[in-house]
């Protein structure tokens, strides 16, 4: 609940500051910007007293950035600015993933979402003339209804989240990760020294099949790859099939057809390409 209050106050303070930048009158501008800055800095100082570790601080700061950018994606007016705010959301999420020790997820978020999806959106924004959308291009509808629906969704899910207090935190970590993470994060201990002094329960875990003895030790990406290609091979292949279907479907849907006479032009190209066998039809063509 404290975190929720923190996020709401920080995001609100940022938008008060930003609203101050847009105000015409100079005194109101100064007052609004000062108010927003005081709210942001003061609440960050007040709530952040207990944050001592760098990764916690990084997660809070980056999630605040992601929420601010997400608010701008939802309520912004200009398309390119909204797309760039979505890029900011993806960059913040990549940072959050790295802070959660999911480096591979951070990298593929950068590569796929920030690299591919945003570029696709910007490309489409370039192709489509948004001025032809009418007098109000991104006119909103049902804004209050949407806000109420989002509020209800948030309240319901937050009730579920706060209702399960401590149950997730109480679950003990599985054994095999503990061992492998000790392999991975043993400070100053390489695999050679660790393998020499393998304890009895680690040897039992290896013999029971929970830990592969040749599991690589450095970094979490290799663990993820190991899981992905051993235990989750079939879902991975099915996902690649889905990607193939998506690519083929996107090409088929987005292909530029010659309007009205696609069939005729198709027979023409077929006859023209098959000159060896269909030379007679080619001669009959006027």
């Amino acid at each position: 609940m404290t975190a929720l209050l923190f996020w709401i106050i920080i995001v609100g303070g940022f938008y008060i500051f930003r609203g101050g930048l847009a105000v015409r009158q100079r005194p109101a501008q100064i007052v609004l910007m000062l108010l927003g800055a005081i709210i942001v800095v003061g609440s960050a100082w007040y709530f952040g007293r207990g944050i001592d570790r760098v990764s916690h601080l990084l997660r809070f700061v980056l999630s605040v950035t992601a929420l601010v950018s997400a608010v701008h994606v939802v309520f912004g007016q200009r398309p390119v600015q909204c797309a760039l705010s979505l890029l900011a959301v993806f960059l913040s999420l990549a940072g959050i993933f790295v802070a959660y020790q999911a480096e591979f997820l951070g990298v593929i978020t950068l590569a796929i979402n920030a690299g591919g999806v945003i570029v696709t959106f910007l490309f489409i924004l370039m192709l489509i003339d948004l001025r032809m959308e009418g007098p109000r291009p991104v006119a909103a509808r049902w804004t209050w209804g949407a806000v109420v629906a989002g509020f209800l969704l948030a309240v319901g899910l937050l009730a579920v989240v706060s209702g399960s207090s401590g149950q997730v935190a109480a679950s003990p970590p599985p054994r095999y990760f503990e061992i492998t993470s000790r392999y991975a994060y043993g400070v100053g201990e390489g695999m050679d020294t660790r393998m020499g002094e393998m304890s009895e329960e680690e040897a039992r875990a290896i013999s029971a099949g929970d830990v592969h003895p040749l599991r690589p030790i450095t970094g979490f990406t290799q663990h993820v790859g190991w899981e992905l290609y051993t235990r989750y091979t079939v879902p991975f292949e099915v996902a690649s099939l889905i990607l193939t279907v998506a690519v083929v479907g996107a090409v088929c849907v987005g292909r530029q057809r010659a309007s009205g006479e696609s069939k005729k032009s198709g027979t023409y190209t077929k006859a023209a390409s098959g000159t060896g066998t269909g030379g007679r039809e080619g001669d009959n063509r006027p």
């Binding site: 994606v73 489409i124 949407a146 997730v168 935190a169 889905i242 998506a246």
Partner: protein
């Protein structure tokens, strides 16, 4: 309600973050008329479970959450490709991607 300092980024905090992200995406999905913005909001909503999966994966010390997050990101890429292709083909038909001009798709 007691206001305590934020001393730990517990999974409940991560869950609050992803719930806020999901609610923001829903608001954008409902209030936008432009189909491109609708796609952006769907992208925003799809990032919420990814964040939650990764946070819980880190908390519970398994890699299964990261694997599922990889699958969700794959689906996100496929959805972006197909959605953008559909938007382009709709734009070719009627020179508009406003949802108000495509009420015929309601069925």
């Amino acid at each position: 309600m007691t206001i305590e300092p934020l001393n730990d980024f517990s999974p409940q905090v991560a869950a609050m973050f992803s719930v806020l992200l999901l609610a923001l995406g829903l608001i954008g999905l409902m209030r936008r008329r432009n189909m491109l913005f609708v796609l952006m909001s769907v992208e925003l909503m799809l990032q919420a479970p990814v964040t939650l999966f990764i946070a819980l994966s880190n908390h519970m010390r398994t890699y299964n959450g990261q694997i599922f997050a990889i699958f969700i990101i794959m689906i996100t890429a496929a959805q972006a490709a197909v959605g953008v292709a559909i938007v382009v083909s709709l734009y070719r038909h009627r020179r508009s991607i406003s949802t108000a001009h495509w009420t015929a798709l309601k069925g």
